[in-house]
Structure formats: structure tokens, C-alpha cells
């Protein structure tokens, strides 16, 4: 009974004139949005456009400053997330919110633990959690503690949590940011299934290729205002990008320039103590962007952390500019000129309660204050320069947790690159970053290479690896499956090796 032609549908969710202000800052201005049952509406926009804020308002996390909502014809003004859930509206938040010390099953059912004879029904809970995780392609014991999972698996737990909510309306805020292709396919299969059962969705993502696959309609936000609405998802990506960033993007990736630098980093036979990677050898030249591809769990992150001194190494050698490096801590690798931009910005990249300025200054004090006196003014000036360079939407004195996810990612990039390293390792550098900013970051990466740095890019976004790199190494189950020149590397040649 999809009667899309009826203008004021009683069914589904509709929001009217939603405005949100934080003090003097207006984050959302007069936003209208309708989602019918069985429909997936994609919500697009730059970092900080207000997508997560819209989601939070609908899910009862924050109250709107002005505006009204109706849900299935009834006025809807949730007072708390619990209230929204009772009405059948659930949210997967952009930032993963799991309890590391509890099991997967308990995380999935937190706040609504099923009981049997007055006791928590552990068996039933485990069974249902396992079923849902299986449908997403994750086959781990539901008794596993969430803290022991890698990022992608945690994201899948988060999704499983949403799928078991018995909601009739779900908001997915960047659910695939940490997922690979296969996991994404599994998620989409689940969304299709629920759509057919009449569930409505808001779907937020910066991966525009996903939009055409999953969305029925597209709504674009810019600076807190609705600037575009497309009745079909078959919109050319170019049009979407223009609506989002307010200008046209002629190209995504910078041109790959010919290589003529000398070798800076050489890795030989590197093996981890627990076998997540073994016998990996490669080398990177000055001015080179070296891509590392692989499916989720291939061991890329572990390998990078080992080179950065964050994890131990069992055997093998690392040579930086001819000098051997046997890092026992990140400080050792940093001293050799290697910086790592970690994949998990919340746990490894930022001190969330501290200001943006303090975060950018961390590790950069010799540059912030060459005289050894870190004055607040020096911190602010240093931060402001980086805020401008990376187009961060925020002020130096704001706490990092006030920033939108994408802007947080930019802060992590900024503070690492400010160290003026010789070698930069970027692990999922554009996780959660909008297309416009992504092009900007690609320019920064190419610029770093042009300055003579060696850049390593690890990404689950294959286009990114292919578009940026001079050479691509493919990792599968912790071993090197071949290094391809950018002239030979394409989706097929890489995937063949990655799934080998």
C-alpha cells in the first residue's frame, strides 16, 4: 500500500520545522523530513551538516529547540531514548556505544534483557544474538567480551543490537564506516528484508556508492538546512556532491606523479607474536603513496601498529633510511620519523574531554612552544593554523567531543601530520569523512608525498587505495599476496588476491 502520491500521509515519520541551537550556534534550521514505512531515506551532507543531530532528535537523545514531529499520525516528542524505543524508533549511533566488559549477547540486549522464570534468559539471548550476528556474517561466540573484538565486529554487534530492537523505524548513522564490502552486503540484505516487512529507515553514509544501492530517496543537508530532496536514489553522484558541498568537485583523486625518490622504509619478514601477520616484506620510497588493501581482519591494522611501535614484533626487521629500527614503544618509531594515524579515533586518537587545541598540541609541544613554555596562546595559534589547514569545523577551545565525527577524524589527522614526520601511516584515514573533505584530504596526502614523505594508506575503501597509491600491497590472512603497480592494480586484481 505504497501511496506515495498522497501528500499528507498519516503513516510513517514526519518532522516539520526542526531547529536545534547550542547556545549561539544554530546546528539545524527548519528541517522537514518524511519517511514512509518500507522506505529507506538517505540523509547526506558534509561533516558537521547536522545529520547526527537530526538522528539524535528523532531518537530522543536531545530535544529540538523548535519544531514538531509526528509518528504514524500521532504527535511524537520523545523525552528519552527509552521513550523513543517504546514508540518503536531506534538508532544506531555513529559513535559505537558498547560495553567492553560485557559479552556480545548482553550488549545486544542491554536494557531489555529477556527473562525466563525471573532469571535472565542467557541461553535464549545467546541464541538470538548468534542468529542475528550470523545473518550479518559474524560467527563468533555470543559469550565473547565486546572489548576483545576488532572494530568491524563491534560495528556488527551494534547493528545486531538495532536489528533485535523490534523497532518499526531505524536510523543507521554511518553503519558501514568500519565495514568491508562483504559485511556491507550482509547488512544491506538485512535492510532489504526488513523493508519488505514495512520498516522505515533513515540511512546516513559518506559512501555515495552505497546510496544508489540501498536508498529509495535522498535528502541533502548543508549547514543545518535541507538543500535538496530527490524522489529517487538514481541521482548522479556529481549532483549529490554539488548539493552537499555547494560547489562542483571536478575530481576526487589527485594525479599520481612519477616516482624518483630513494627508499625510506624497508620492512623485511615482519611477523607478529600471535600470528596476525607473518613474514611481510615491502619497501616505500620518498614521495610514494603506498596502499595496503585487504578484507576486514586481514591483519593490516596489526601490521601498521607493529611498525609504529604500538604492538610487539616477534621477528623481522624494519629499516628507516638505512638505519635499523626495533621499536619497543611508539616513542621509538616516532623518534625515527614514523607517525601512525590510528583507525579508532575515539579510543586511540583523541582525548575526548580535552579541547581541540590540547588534542592538536599533544605530542607537538616542541613545535607549539619551542622555548619550552606552552602558553594557552601558543596552543591556540598552533591549533588555529591546523584547523584552517584541514578545514575543521570547530574552535580551538571546544572540547573534542562536541565535534561531529568527521571533524574529529580531521583533528586526529592534523595532530599527526603536524609532527612533520618522514613516514606517515594512515589507517582508514577517511573513516566518516564527507566527499568534499575527502578530496581535500587526498590532496593533503598527495602533497605530503610531493614533499618527499613516504605515505602508507590502509583502507577498506578500495577506490581510495587504488586512486591514491603508486603501488598497492594486498594482505590476506596476515601475509603479503603481492605488490601491484598502480597501472596493474584494479578492483579485480586486488580482490582476487585479497580473498585468496
Amino acid at each position: 500500500m505504497s501511496n506515495a502520491d498522497t501528500p499528507n500521509v498519516a503513516e510513517g515519520l514526519s518532522i516539520r520545522g526542526i531547529t536545534k541551537r547550542y547556545g549561539p550556534i544554530t546546528v539545524l534550521r527548519d528541517v522537514d523530513l518524511d519517511v514512509k514505512p518500507g522506505e529507506v531515506v538517505a540523509l547526506l551532507g558534509e561533516n558537521g551538516a547536522g545529520k547526527s543531530t537530526v538522528s539524535s532528535i528523532i531518537a530522543g537523545l536531545v530535544p529540538p529547540t523548535a519544531g514538531t514531529m509526528t509518528w504514524n499520525g500521532q504527535p511524537y516528542a520523545p523525552t528519552s531514548p527509552a521513550d523513543a524505543l517504546r514508540r518503536g524508533i531506534g538508532l544506531i549511533h555513529q559513535e559505537m556505544r558498547l560495553l567492553p566488559d560485557l559479552s556480545i549477547a548482553e550488549n545486544v540486549f542491554v536494557g531489555r534483557l529477556p527473562t525466563r522464570n525471573g532469571r535472565v534468559d542467557r541461553a535464549g539471548m545467546a541464541r538470538r544474538a548468534a542468529e542475528n550476528l550470523h545473518s550479518l556474517g559474524l560467527d563468533v561466540s555470543p559469550a565473547t567480551l565486546v572489548g576483545a573484538l576488532r572494530v568491524a565486529a563491534q560495528q556488527q554487534v551494534e547493528i545486531a543490537k538495532a536489528l533485535t530492537l523490534n523497532a518499526r523505524f531505524l536510523i543507521f548513522d554511518e553503519p558501514t564506516a568500519a565495514l568491508g564490502g562483504e559485511e556491507t552486503d550482509n547488512l544491506f540484505a538485512q535492510i532489504e528484508r526488513l523493508k519488505r516487512a514495512g520498516m522505515g529507515f533513515i540511512y546516513i553514509s559518506h559512501r555515495l556508492d552505497e546510496i544508489a544501492r540501498i536508498a529509495d530517496r535522498v535528502v541533502v543537508l548543508r549547514d543545518g538546512q535541507k538543500v535538496g530532496s530527490h524522489a529517487t536514489a538514481q541521482v548522479p553522484v556529481k549532483t549529490l556532491v554539488e548539493a552537499m558541498v555547494g560547489r562542483s568537485l571536478d575530481r576526487m583523486f589527485p594525479t599520481i606523479e612519477p616516482l624518483n625518490g630513494r627508499e625510506i622504509l624497508r620492512v623485511e619478514g615482519l611477523t607478529s607474536p600471535d600470528g596476525t601477520f607473518s613474514d611481510v616484506s615491502f619497501s616505500v620510497k620518498a614521495g610514494e603513496v603506498f596502499g595496503i588493501a585487504g578484507i576486514v581482519g586481514a591483519g593490516r591494522t596489526e601490521l601498521m601498529r607493529a611498525i609504529a611501535g604500538a604492538d610487539p614484533i616477534a621477528s623481522g626487521t624494519i629499516t628507516v633510511e638505512g638505519r635499523p629500527l626495533a621499536p619497543r614503544s611508539p616513542a621509538d618509531s616516532l623518534a625515527a620519523g614514523i607517525v601512525l594515524v590510528p583507525e579508532d579515533r575515539k579510543a586511540q586518537g583523541l582525548v575526548l574531554e580535552h579541547t581541540i587545541g590540547d588534542n592538536i598540541a599533544l605530542g607537538n609541544y616542541p613545535r607549539v612552544a619551542p622555548n619550552g613554555f606552552v602558553t594557552p596562546g601558543a596552543v591556540r595559534r598552533f591549533a588555529d593554523a591546523n584547523i584552517r589547514r584541514f578545514g575543521i569545523k570547530g574552535r580551538a577551545g571546544q572540547p573534542a567531543n562536541h565535534l561531529s565525527g568527521g571533524n574529529q577524524q580531521k583533528v586526529v589527522l592534523a595532530k599527526s601530520i603536524a609532527r612533520q614526520p618522514r613516514i606517515v601511516i594512515l589507517d582508514e584515514p577517511t573513516r566518516g569523512i564527507d566527499v568534499g573533505a575527502r578530496a581535500q584530504i587526498y590532496d593533503v596526502i598527495a602533497g605530503l608525498a610531493r614533499e618527499g614523505l613516504a605515505v602508507i594508506v590502509v583502507s577498506s575503501d578500495l577506490d581510495e587505495v587504488l586512486g591514491l597509491s603508486h603501488r598497492v600491497m594486498v594482505l590476506s590472512r596476515g601475509t603479503n599476496r603481492g605488490i601491484l603497480d598502480h597501472t596493474q592494480a584494479n578492483r579485480i586484481s586486488v580482490m582476487e588476491r585479497a580473498t585468496h
Binding site: D101, V120, L145, R150, V151, Q154
Partner: protein
């Protein structure tokens, strides 16, 4: 509060936290202590002595149960020792000065313990004080009030029935206070392990915002645990009165530290979300066995302090060690 609990998601964590216990380290430590004392102290390894040790730890143990709940939610309760005295003095004052019959006076005492907990809970949730400060305030205030009732004097002349609770050995083995303590342990264990409300406490301690998003009434639970901790402190106060046959305003001085130590030795984390009653019981027994055993082998008073310090550090370090191995 510990550094090592903050391991980031996605990194290979150094050890696994086992909620249902994870108390192997302390348990092994406890057994080692018992074996050691059994060889060293002639009368240590007897039923009689086991009874004595349980009797000695009952008051601390009851406090530690409430403390476990509070610590699991990520809080701390410094007021338990003072509330113990405050409630006992309330009962004592009502009974021996106001002249109320004993049983209603007893219930008033327990209720006032709950009220003290309520005050802490409201300060934590609504005035948003850090639990350390909120319960420090309650601790200071209740200690002052406990003194005011009788101007610092001792209450004696409790009914004999009260003393019997601590002296009469049912089945020749267990006193009513010890039995009650063990029942409380079992009930709280079952609550924490099997009841949704118990599991919710772990979620709250793990991340209160996640808990709130999941629809758990966080404030209600938080106020609840402080009220329960207050009520249990009051009950501990009566167990103490039964044991000593007198009550005085300085009863329970410093017991909060022992209770917290027992809970942390038992594997709980002061940053919340981790802990178990089984662990707490072991923590309580380690402290009890150490104190009693060292007295019995005639250790010098000052050496005792040194040995206890070393043993506590060793028991917990040992636990970390075996967790890291696994």
C-alpha cells in the same frame, strides 16, 4: 581509575575479564594463605577457627556487599562505616533513651541507614556530585550526628536476644549473624548474575550513557544502590552491636577502606562495570584470614602491617599475572 582497563577496542587486549568470577588469582591466594597458616598455627585448620573467621568478617562482609553494588556502578561509598554507627546509635537512642521497644527501634535504625544512602544517592544523581565527595559529606555528617544522640556516650544494655544472634550456634556451627551474611551473599550473587536489574548495574558502570540510551533508568538505579548500601550498613551496625553488646559513635571508623579493599582485591574495578560478589567474598576472607592468622602465629604487631601490605599487593598482582597469561 586503573590505566590498564582503558585498553582500546580493536587492540588485542592483554587479559580477559571474567564477570562471573575471574577471581582465580585471589582465590589461589586465599588457599595459599590457608595452607600456610594451617602449617604454622597449631589450631588454625579447625572448624572452630573457620567459624571464628566467618564471625570476624561478618560486619565487614555485609558492608562489602553494598560496596560491591556501588563500585559496579562506577561509584564509591565512603560513608558505610559512619552510617553503621549512625544507625546503631539511632536504634540505641530510641531504645534506651526514648524508650521505644527494641524491634521498632531496630527497624527505625535500618530505615535511617537507607535515608543516609538516599541522601548520598540524590547528591550523586541530582546534585551531580562525584560519589567520592557526596559520600564523604554523608560520612562526616552521619558521624557527627551519631555523636550527638548520646553526646559521645556508649549505648549498652541491648536486649539479650540481640547478643544471642551472634553467640548462639545453630546446629552447633553457625550463628544467626553469620548465616544472615551468607544468605545476603547468595542473594546478591543471584541478583547480580541472574536478574535484569543486576545486569543493568554492570551496564551503568560500564558506560552510563550507553545504559541511558538503552532505556535503563540510570538515576533510579544509582539512587537505589546507595540506599541499599546504606541499609546494609545499618544491618552491619546491628550485627556489630550484637557482637560487641555495646554501640558507640566511633564504631566502624575506617571500615570503608577495608570494605573497598576487599571489593577491589576481589577483582572489581573502581572505574565501574566489573566486579562480582564471589570476588568480594574472597577479598573479605583474604583480609580476615590474614588478620586472624597473623595474630595466631604471634606475628609482631608492626610486622603484621608490613606482611598484610605485601600479601594484598601480591594477591592482586598474581591475579593480573595469570590473567595476562591466559
Amino acid at each position: 581509575m586503573t590505566v590498564q582497563t582503558k585498553h582500546p577496542a580493536g587492540a588485542v587486549p592483554r587479559f580477559k575479564v571474567d564477570l562471573t568470577g575471574g577471581v582465580w588469582g585471589p582465590l589461589i591466594g586465599l588457599i595459599a594463605l590457608c595452607v600456610f597458616f594451617a602449617f604454622k598455627a597449631q589450631h588454625f585448620f579447625t572448624l572452630q577457627n573457620a567459624i571464628i573467621i566467618f564471625d570476624q568478617v561478618t560486619v565487614y562482609g555485609i558492608l562489602a556487599i553494598g560496596m560491591t553494588l556501588v563500585i559496579i556502578t562506577g561509584g564509591i561509598d565512603l560513608s558505610v562505616g559512619s552510617v553503621l554507627a549512625f544507625s546503631a546509635m539511632t536504634t540505641g537512642w530510641l531504645f534506651s533513651i526514648v524508650g521505644m521497644p527494641f524491634v521498632p527501634a531496630l527497624f527505625c535504625g535500618i530505615a535511617i541507614g537507607g535515608v543516609a544512602g538516599l541522601a548520598s544517592g540524590l547528591l550523586v544523581t541530582y546534585a551531580r556530585l562525584p560519589p567520592f565527595i557526596a559520600t564523604l559529606a554523608t560520612m562526616t555528617i552521619t558521624r557527627g550526628l551519631a555523636n550527638k544522640y548520646t553526646d559521645g556516650n556508649v549505648v549498652s544494655g541491648w536486649p539479650d536476644a540481640l547478643n544471642t544472634l551472634n553467640t548462639y550456634r545453630h546446629f552447633g556451627v553457625i550463628t544467626a549473624t553469620t548465616a544472615f551474611f551468607l544468605l545476603l551473599v547468595i542473594a546478591t550473587w543471584a541478583f547480580l548474575k541472574y536478574r535484569p536489574a543486576g545486569r543493568n548495574l554492570y551496564a551503568i558502570g560500564g558506560n552510563p550513557e550507553v545504559a541511558r540510551l538503552a532505556g535503563i533508568p540510570v538515576r533510579f538505579y544509582l539512587v537505589g544502590v546507595y540506599v541499599v548500601a546504606g541499609g546494609l550498613s545499618a544491618i552491619a551496625g546491628m550485627a556489630n552491636a550484637a557482637r560487641l553488646q555495646t554501640s558507640q559513635p566511633y564504631d566502624g571508623l575506617g571500615y570503608e577502606l577495608t570494605a573497598i579493599a576487599a571489593v577491589v582485591i576481589g577483582g572489581a574495578s573502581l572505574s565501574g562495570g566489573v566486579g562480582s560478589i564471589g570476588g568480594t567474598l574472597i577479598g573479605v576472607l583474604i583480609i580476615g584470614v590474614l588478620n586472624s592468622g597473623l595474630s595466631q602465629i604471634g606475628a609482631q604487631t608492626y610486622d603484621k602491617d608490613v606482611i598484610i601490605g605485601v600479601m594484598i599487593a601480591a594477591a592482586v598482582a598474581f591475579d593480573t599475572l595469570i590473567r595476562r597469561r591466559r
